[in-house]
Symmetry: C2
Subunit: 449 residues, 2 copies
């Protein structure tokens, strides 16, 4: 292209830009007029109205620019419009989505005035980590090197994981808990104004992460018994969808998707949408149609599978999780991962935990045996449970009854999780602890049955 | 406002939106035409041209929408234009800024074939942590509770920090290293298309974080001897500036800003811009005009001060840092902080380290004594150093000589940091180790002097 031609085209762009600028000015004036008429500041954000505007635009748009670009531009305009309509007394502001974050609270871990409590509120492994791990640590010299930075990418632990699961070490990314790997996905593949799909009743971090990256949550509707199916996920897909978080099995409902269902989902999804399969409880599932392996990452470039040392391995204190994906996706995730995000001693302990496969099997077997016993006993005292594949039972009752059970158990030093923060105040999640802990829980429940 | 009036205004907005959409369509067509004429794909992104377009728009804009909004919208248009001009063979994409991240590498920590190395490449504390810390850990029962989640917000450690420094516990936020608190600031206050100011030659994470959040780096120009001043910072401020990262003292140059200079900066800055003062090496500075306290956070709502346990406390392996700010800013940062981002045993050890103030003083005194001796010796063999306030010396030489020194020392089992990745291939950063380590380094350097 000769420079003269280029100059002409650039001149045309400038003149288009000026026109757009002028239209934005006019738009802001109308928005201000509307804002001045509105009585209160609290209802300034009208998500429904914004969605209508977007739908209309997406129908009318014939632009070569992709539809997600159009949505991002207008969501920026919406945000600017909100600011015009608010009397911001404060100078320091944050993007709209972050304002609405409710800080994650986690399960309670103490009861005032009680020394001996049974903690069944955070899906921890009550049996603790492998005794071989603890034995080693007392002899470890790692602490003597506390002044040295950890391995920047935890290569030795990643090698150990690769050998254990027969994986490619370069496609394993460690996180400060698997939570952090969930964030990496959003940071890498989402922008302000994009959309993330996740369960209506799922791990709270999905909606928090969505807001952190300035995206919008699209919620998967459940059918009866809190199960989700592939169609209910596909229904939420739009040109702005960038990520789908699926906990498999789901927390707190305990439901799962079979391998066939996941393949079906991936086959019906645009290939640029990244599906994050959160496997925090994967090791506990014993169903034949559940895929506990990683072969889906060979078939699909757009899948990320996560695992954690916080649950079945009994190492929640150490903050180690990881994810596995295609090499392409792993390389991108690695760019948004901070250096030194996992701790030296945690890396070392996690390596030891991977070795004790017998202990892992024992924990899983116990979980199933004790869960079955616990849920049978609940049935006898007329407390209804969903079918849960995790290390927890999902109790469905009334809001009043859920509150009553939770208060009564707390009073007896047994902490369970009433699921208000999951939008399920009528439900309770009870971690399956040791046989003794569950017997104590049933005995206590019988008092109010 | 009656509904009829509202409907009319909304109709006006719809018609403006249609016009904008149409102009965007026309713009995309011209962009495509330009793209088709361009010969290669590699030079599709023309940052200079984009900046010219932005400057013109900012001059012409009379919109009520804020100028940063205008910049964000056009940066989105630029990104969409880039995509139109690229032949994207791949379906999975990430935002433009993330593509350009070069993964942080950190200092080397081993030399092939050498068992006993002296590591002076990562500004670690060669003396290790307080012996009282190590003594305690062997008796600790914390590891027995590895299956329990850590304190969600590290309240006990935060209380200890608050008492130690006479601070408000609610305004302290812990990070997985102070690195993570730097990321929190960007996540909280920056959006795709905003700008972050940081030193041209500074900690690599500033530019990586800028790219992670989709912002653009504006670099502070240095005067002679790599110092920066307040005016050179103010020169980079635009309506899109959201954050300024200042390492004080700076790594790797070792320079610092006095309290007066920082107050001067803050007084001349719009109050919505958040200044992050990275104090990773703060404890080492002994200059009278340097402010090692936190009182600036009382005077200015828009300042974040960070500290780490990785340097003077000798606990780099544990991944603990923290930041302090106004309550308003702390509350926002807390929303983007993941739960459980620091490890149980790390929280406990950091608490112990805070208690041993004598040891801290000893480490700082040793650093100064040994640094002075080391730099005097360097002078004797004609190696020039900048004036560094950290636990490292900043050697300024030629690229050839820097490479030669680094290769020679490595060969002798002494690892220092040639500063290629900081854009300073003519410089070296040498951590001040123990007296013995520095004697060995000087003896080795004499061989090639």
């Amino acid at each position: 292209m000769d420079n003269k031609k280029l100059d002409i085209l650039r001149g045309d762009i400038n003149s288009l830009d000026d026109k757009i600028l002028d239209l934005l000015k006019q738009r802001a004036e109308i928005v201000t007029e509307i804002g001045e008429q509105k009585k209160s500041n609290t209802d300034v954000v009208d998500i429904e109205r914004e969605q209508k505007v977007l739908n209309r635009l997406l129908q009318n748009s014939k632009a070569k620019y992709s539809k997600d670009t159009i949505v991002r531009i207008w969501r920026e305009i919406f945000q600017a419009s909100t600011k015009l309509q608010q009397n911001n007394s404060s100078l320091i502001t944050t993007k709209r989505s972050i304002n609405s974050i409710t800080v994650y609270k986690g399960g309670k871990s103490s009861v005032t005035g009680k020394d001996n409590i049974i903690k069944l509120s955070s899906n921890e492994n009550s049996y603790g980590p492998s005794p071989k791990v603890l034995d080693h640590i007392n002899k470890s010299e790692t602490l003597l090197n506390s002044h040295r930075y950890p391995s920047i990418d935890g290569i030795k632990l990643r090698e150990k994981i690769a050998i254990t699961h027969n994986l490619n070490v370069n496609r394993i990314i460690l996180g400060c808990g698997s939570d952090e790997t969930l964030l990496f996905a959003a940071l890498a593949f989402c922008q302000d104004g994009d959309e993330i799909i996740h369960a209506k009743h799922g791990f709270e971090m999905y909606s928090i992460i969505t807001k952190i990256v300035g995206a919008t949550s699209k919620l998967i509707e459940e059918s009866t018994n809190y199960t989700i199916d592939v169609n209910s996920i596909l229904k939420q897909v739009t040109p702005s969808t960038k990520i789908i978080y699926i906990a498999n099995p789901n927390n707190p409902t305990g439901t799962y998707l079979s391998r066939t269902e996941i393949v079906n989902l991936l086959n019906n999804l645009p290939k640029h949408i990244v599906v994050v399969l959160d496997g925090a409880y994967a090791e506990y599932v014993l169903k034949d149609d559940y895929d506990s392996g990683f072969s889906l990452t060979e078939e699909f470039e757009n899948i990320i599978m996560t695992r954690t040392f916080s649950k079945v391995y009994g190492l929640a204190a150490l903050r180690i999780g990881w994810c596995y994906s295609s090499e392409k996706v792993a390389n991108i995730l690695n760019k948004v991962k901070g250096p030194f995000n996992t701790q030296t001693i945690s890396q070392e302990i996690a390596m030891l935990a991977l070795e004790d496969k017998e202990y892992l099997k024992e924990v899983v077997d116990n979980n199933h045996k004790v869960k079955k016993w616990f849920e049978d006993e609940l049935k006898k005292i007329d407390i209804k449970c969903g079918s849960s594949e995790g290390n927890f039972s999902f109790i469905q009752t009334s809001e009043k009854k859920a509150k009553e059970i939770s208060a009564h158990l707390t009073n007896e030093g047994i902490i369970v999780r009433q699921l208000d923060s999951y939008g399920l105040p009528n439900c309770l999640r009870v971690t399956i602890g040791t046989q003794d802990e569950m017997i104590a829980t049933i005995e206590s429940l019988k008092k109010i049955a």
